[in-house]
Each structure stands twice: as C-alpha cells, then as structure tokens.
C-alpha cells in the first residue's frame, strides 16, 4: 500500500516539476512583442536546437537574456527539441515576431541554411552560436573546439608523457568527435608521440567511437578495452575521452573493474565530472565558460541592431573574462570553415580545470555549484583545497 502511495506521489511530483519547469524556460515574452515596437527596440530572437543538455538553459540562455535586457533590448526564443524541421519553423516564427537579430544554435550546420536565407532576405543579421553555420554572412561565436582537444591532450600528456593510452571518442557523425577534437589532440603532440613510439594506443588505433555520446555505451566499450588490456598484460596509463558524458562512462568502467584511476580527460564542466575531478577520478575537465559566450553573443546582437558592421564588432575591455578572450583580443576575426567559407568569428578560449584550479569554476557562478562539485570530497582527495577542506 505504502509503496503505491509513494510511487504515486513521486510521479505526481514529476508532473508538477514538468509543468513548472517547462513553462518558465521558453517563449515567455513572445506574444508581447508587436512588430511596430520591434522596429524601435532591439528584439533578439534565439533559436535553440535543444534544451536537453542542461548547459543551454542553465548557462547560455540566462546570460544572453540578461545582456540583451540590460542593453535595453527584448529577448525572445524557441526550442527546436533536436529537430531540423522544427528549427526552421522556429526561425520563421521568430522573424514574424519581429526579431531584428537572430542567434541560432544550429541543430545541423547545413540543414539550417534555408532559415538563414530567410533571415538574410529580411535583412536580419544572423549569429551562429556555438555551432558553425556554413554561410559567410553569419557571425560565428564559439569556443575553439580544436583548442579544447588541445587542452585535453596537453594536460594529460604533461602528466603522462609516455605509456599506454586509450582514446574514447564521441559520436562518429559529429565533426567535433571525428575531426576537431582529434586535431587538437594531435596539435598537443599525440600523433608525434605515437609515431615515435612513446605512446601506444590500446584498443582500436583511431580510437573507440561512442554512438550518440552515450555514457552507457562508453562504459561498455571501456570495459571491453580494460578486459583486453588485462588479457594482454598491459596497463592503461592514461585515457583521452573527448567529452564529459563519455568520461563518466569511463570512470564507471574503471570502478566496475576495480581499476585505479589513470589520468582522464573530458570537456563540458558537467557537475558529475567536476565532482570526479575533485575526487581524483578524472584528471582534467576542459571547461567552456558558456556564461561568457552568452554575454558576448548578447552584446554583439545589440551592436548589430545598432548598425555596427559585422567585421568591426569589438567587445568593451573587461566585458568578458580575460582568460577566455581570444588571444588577439575581444574582437572579431576571419575564420575559414571546413567547407572553405570565410566567416567573421569570435572564438573564445577554453579553460582546462584540474583539481588545482577547481576554485576558478566554483567562483565563476557556473551552473555546477560548489555543493555539486564537492559532494563526498574528503580531506585526502585532490579537490580538498578547492572545496575548503
């Protein structure tokens, strides 16, 4: 009887949470932005491809919104729920709602192009946010994904200059997984060290891909690789995982196998992974401070509204954290895309987080809170200092 009641309560809670969370996240001021007023104010329309990954709603969205509203603009948005078609519809409706600038987190770099064309036809500037859109007219604001890979590999290579490495990659269909991040690894010296024989790759030489970046899949693959290494009498000295969801699976596999925790990389700054950094189960988590990315996008959107030419956009000094600003300063530069288009871009620098500089992310107001990051950390763990133990 009791179990029934508790279960009912639990599902009811879930539905309540559902009702509250869903309403607040999207499209709040959409209906109150009549087209006539839009011409005067700056209406910034944002099309998100998804809110399933928590960072968009937790970090990017509030920062864009706050920056736009602080500058006197109006913020409207829509969530395409991982659908290319929905995103095109969303772009239409944002334009119809009077958006003067569009910020697009594209579900697909090319499928979004018809929407971009519509915006161009209507004379609306487009910012491709975080993910590249293959169109020279779109301003590209992102973190440097090659630099992310480079930071991952550099941290781990510094720690383990030679030995047996395992490479855990993301979804085979994602160019970040197959091209940019591995390019960064090689820039950090991985390819050279493999060629010179300092580093030997266990498992498939080109790395093990993880369908859909799924944690469970990464876990299963890693278990097989550990078994194989054990059978061959090899020790795993370090693991390069491309992102945090796969790194989480790697940690689970190492735990299940009673393995020690060799240096392991990841990126995203997810709470569970930063917690693993503090616990010494993941060595480095390359953090893309999306708060700053959101601020930059919001500011550029306002500037574009005010008529600043795209290639003259510059952020005020100190507007974004200097550690994430591009090396050449907080102004736009040309970037050549994989398809050979030259786009105007602002490419921010990622921050590698290890147990030594965990306080940086703790103090930045990141959506992973100190409670998340320091959960279960004891005085003997690497993150003890950052957690104030």
């Amino acid at each position: 009887m009791n179990i029934r009641r508790v279960a009912a309560m639990a599902s009811m809670t879930a539905i309540l949470v559902a009702a509250c969370g869903g309403g607040a996240a999207t499209q709040a001021p959409a209906s109150e932005a009549p087209a006539s007023q839009a011409a005067v104010d700056c209406v910034v329309g944002v099309s998100w491809n998804n809110f399933q990954q928590p960072r968009w709603a937790a970090a990017d969205q509030p920062n864009i919104k706050d920056t736009v509203e602080a500058g006197g603009g109006t913020y409207i948005d829509a969530d395409a729920n991982l659908s290319n078609e929905q995103q095109l519809t969303d772009i239409d409706s944002l334009i119809n709602q009077g958006a003067n600038v569009l910020i697009l987190l594209a579900q697909d770099t090319k499928a979004v192009l018809p929407g971009v064309q519509k915006a161009k036809d209507a004379g609306i500037p487009v910012i491709s946010y975080d993910r590249l859109i293959e169109d020279p007219a779109a301003l590209y604001i992102t973190f440097d994904n090659v630099a992310v890979g480079e930071a991952e590999a550099r941290a781990v290579l510094d720690k383990v200059p030679s030995g047996n490495y395992v490479l855990i990659k993301g979804d085979p269909g994602d160019p970040n997984a197959s091209t940019f991040l591995p390019m960064g690894w090689d820039n950090a010296g991985l390819a050279d060290k493999i060629a010179s024989g300092d580093i030997k790759i266990l498992g498939p030489a080109e790395g093990t891909y993880t369908d859909g970046w799924k944690t469970e899949t990464a876990q299963k693959n890693m278990e097989a690789i550990i078994d194989q290494a054990n059978a061959a009498g090899e020790t795993i000295d370090a693991i390069l995982a491309e992102n945090d969801s796969t790194a989480l699976g790697v940690v689970a596999a190492l735990t299940a196998k009673g393995y020690d925790f060799p240096p392991l990389s990841g990126q995203d700054g997810d709470p569970a992974n930063l917690n693993n950094v503090a616990l010494g189960k993941q060595y480095v988590d390359v953090w893309k401070n999306a708060n700053e990315l959101g601020k930059a996008a919001g500011q550029f959107a306002l500037d574009l509204c005010a008529g600043t030419a795209m290639n003259e956009l510059t952020l005020p000094d100190g507007f974004i954290d200097p550690t994430v600003a591009p090396v050449a300063g907080p102004k736009v530069q040309d970037f050549t895309t994989p398809d050979g288009n030259v786009v105007t871009s602002l490419i921010l620098q990622p921050t590698p987080i290890t147990a030594e500089n965990l306080d940086v992310v703790i103090n930045a107001g990141w959506w992973a809170t100190k409670d998340d990051i320091c959960k279960g950390v004891t005085a003997s763990d690497p993150g003890a200092t950052a957690c104030g133990l």
Binding site: Q52, Q53, D227, Q228, A272, N275
Partner: protein, 441 residues
C-alpha cells in the same frame, strides 16, 4: 543400452540414414532443440571471437563482464516474452528504465535525505529506493496496461507514446544533468568485485542448483508415473541430471576463476585491516556477480510464472487464440494489464543494475533498450504471431546480442560496425528460425 548412451555423444558422424534414430534419441531426452541450437550458436560466436582475439577472449574476467553487460536486457526480455506472446508490444521499456534509474539517483542523492529525512546512514536505504523504483515501474506498467487492455488503444501506440513522454519526464527529473553518488550498498547491485557472491557462496549456490536439478527430475518422473504419463528413459534422465549438474558446477568454477584485481584487493585489505598480503598476492575469487544472480532469480521466477501459474498459462492461451481464451472465461483484460505490471517491475530491476553500474544516472540511460530487448526475445524464439516463446530462450537471446556487442568491441570493431552486425544477426536468427519451422511443419 550402451549403444543408446553412446549415440548422442558423436552427433557429428551420423550418416544421413541414421538421422531419424538419432532424432528419436534426442526426442526421448525432451531437450528443446531450438534452445539447444541457440546454445550452440552462442558457443560458436564465443569461440569465433576467441579465435579472432588470438585466444584471449574466453577468460573468466571477460565472460563476467559480458554477462553483466547482458543482465539488464536479459531481465527485461523475460517480460517482453509474455508481452509479445499475448500479441502486444512494449516500446516504452528503455524510457521507463531511464526514468526509474534517474529516480534512484534522485532518491538517494536528494529526496530521501532532504525530504524524508533519511540520511546516508539510514538503514536499508538502498532497499527503500529499490522498493520505490519497483513501485514506480509497476505504476507506469499498470497505467499503460490499463489503457491497452481496458480502453483498447493498440499497445504499439500506447507504448510508443510512453517511449516519448517518459523519456521527456526523465529530463524534467534531472534538467538533463547527470546525477551521481549512489549509496555504496546500492552500487553492489551492479556487480564488480565487491558486488559478487565470492567463492564460497558461489559454490554453495551451485550445489543447491545441482540438488534442485536432480530433485526436479525425480519429482517430475514421479508425477508422470502417478498420472500414467510417458516417462523419459532412465538413461535420458541420468544424462540430463549429469549434464545439468556439470553445467552448474562448471559455471561456478569458471566464475570463481575470476579473481579480484590486485590493486583493488590491496586497497581493501588496507581499508579493512586484513593484515599483510599472503605469498603471491591476494587471490580472492569474485564468483558470480550480483546482476547475474538477479538474472538467474528473475529467470526462475518468470519461468515459474509462465509455466506453472494460472496467470502465465492464461497469457499463452490468449496469445494462441484470443477469442477462445475470452470465450473460455479467462479475464483477458486483467491478464494483459498484469503483463505490463510485470514489465514495469522488471524495468525497475534492470534500472537498478544500470544505475548501480554507473553510480548514478544520465539522461540517456536505457536509450534503445526496447530494440535490444525485443531483439533478444525474438532471437530467443518468441513469435510475433503470439502464443509462442520461452523465458530461457529470451535470456539466451540477450546473451547472444551482448556477446556480439562485447566481442566486437573487444576485438576493436567500432560502433557503427557493431550495429551492422547486430542487425544482421537479428534478421539471420529469425530468418533461420522461420525456415526451420516451415520445414518442420
């Protein structure tokens, strides 16, 4: 008599003419030929990988990993058999597993300590969480079952809706973030060195299993005698008993050949003050991992439900001929509803393994489970036309799928290749089965 015993031991040499007598001998043992064939197929797959991996594949450690990876799918597949046998389908299992896994994580990290005041030291928190998870599973199952059986919406539609909406609810539970940090005792459900029975208990379980096999053979023979049913010839009974016992004891020996990793043993030895390591290090057998015990337990209970309980017989009766079952006075609607409740409970068990193994839950736990579960049931001989399917077959089917997946990643085939292979095996298995049945009839 000696002739009769020897004949089946050399099946490879029989000339085509002797086929009928051999078939008769095999028929006398009443072995399920399909199941036997599948065991052979599984053995062939394992041997194939052993060969491809240069002879390292069939190590106990690898087989333990493989079976733990198969456990979740195997458990749900036993329920899928009943659902498919009664001419329905359940596409929502993957999402339900995700929802319940996330519930476990939330319960132990947040709800139990912060809302219900049960701190980390509260006794049997893992069991409380598990019970709530099972309750959630049963509730979702009952809801879907009700809509299918009483409202009459096709199960494909209802559970397709469940697949979408329950996965959406997972997001609302967690806002998409991974949640980690489960109770250490809950983590033992997921296996690993500490989450296994250990050497002695494994042997004990094997001996009990052996005795049970013999007892079952004896009692079934007695029952048949009593009701004047034909009995198996004595040699067949003995053969079954010996082979069964040997299999169980062999399994135990194999599981016990898997040892605790050196580093872990040393670490725990220090933590728990075992004293200095003996000569040659700690050699602690892990024995059977907990998820496998769960699979064995679920397999036995489900087989009993399916073959010995009124509920199970009703399911098969309905699947064989829905109208006849209805006219025969079976409460078919309630029977259907119950299959979904059973399914929900099994999802909760599978979710506990997945969450325990991950020490938490992610948004994507359980994605595509429905496909693997249905594949396992179908490879195991469950027929979409209803009325046919066995629990043991489905479990074997799950192991076939898991062996492929694990084996391919063991020899370094990347994931798109694994998917290609899994798809081909699914079609081949069912195709072969259909061909065999047509030839048989």
């Amino acid at each position: 008599m000696t002739n009769l015993v020897e004949a089946p031991s050399q099946p490879g040499q029989q000339p085509s003419g002797a086929g009928t007598s051999l078939r008769r001998l095999v028929a006398q043992t009443e072995i399920d030929l399909r199941l036997f064939g599948m065991l052979l197929a599984l053995a062939a797959i394992l041997l194939g990988f052993h060969f491809l991996s240069g002879g390292t594949f069939l190590r106990p450690a690898n087989m333990v990993t493989l079976s733990v990876q198969a456990a979740g799918i195997a458990i749900i597949a036993t329920g899928m058999v009943l659902v498919i046998v009664s001419r329905n389908i359940d596409l929502s299992v993957g999402s339900l597993v995700g929802f319940i896994a996330m519930s476990y994580a939330l319960l132990m990290t947040d709800l139990l300590p912060n809302v219900l005041g049960m701190g980390p030291d509260f006794p049997f928190r893992w069991a409380i969480a598990l019970a709530i998870g099972i309750g959630i599973g049963a509730a979702f199952g009952a809801l879907q079952g009700f809509i299918i059986a009483y409202v009459g919406v096709p199960s494909f539609i209802v559970t397709l809706g469940g697949l979408l909406s329950i996965r959406g609810l997972v997001w609302y539970l967690s806002s998409g973030a991974a949640i980690s940090g489960l109770d250490p005792s809950f983590q033992l459900i997921g296996g690993g060195s500490q989450g296994s029975l250990g050497g002695t208990l494994t042997w004990a379980v094997a001996v009990v299993g052996c005795i049970a096999i013999v007892a079952l053979l004896v009692s079934s023979r007695r029952q048949r005698r009593r009701y004047d049913f034909p009995v198996r010839p004595m040699w067949a009974e003995v053969l079954l008993g010996v082979v069964g016992c040997a299999a169980v004891l062999g399994l135990a020996a194999f599981a016990n050949a898997n040892l605790w990793p050196e580093g872990l043993a040393n670490r725990i030895a220090i933590e728990e003050n075992w004293g200095p390591a003996p000569e040659g290090g700690w050699n602690i057998p892990t024995g059977l991992p907990n998820p496998i015990m769960l699979v064995i337990g679920v397999g036995l209970v489900m087989t009993w439900l399916a073959t010995r309980r009124r509920f199970g017989r009703y399911v098969y009766a309905y699947g064989g001929n829905p109208d006849a079952a209805e006219l025969g006075g079976i409460n078919t609607r309630f029977t259907i509803l119950k299959t979904y409740v059973v399914m929900g409970i099994l999802c909760a068990l599978a979710a506990s393994i997945a969450a325990a193994r991950l020490n938490g839950a992610t948004l994507d736990i359980g994605v595509n489970y429905e496909l693997y579960v249905i594949a396992a049931a179908v490879i195991g001989g469950t027929s979409f036309s209803g009325g046919i399917g066995t629990i043991s077959g489905a479990i074997l089917g799950a192991f076939v799928m898991a062996s492929l997946q694990y084996g391919l990643s063991y020899i370094g085939v990347i994931s798109p290749g694994q998917n290609v292979a899994a798809g081909i095996v699914l079609i081949a298995a069912v195709g072969f089965d259909t061909y065999n049945r047509r030839r048989g009839s």
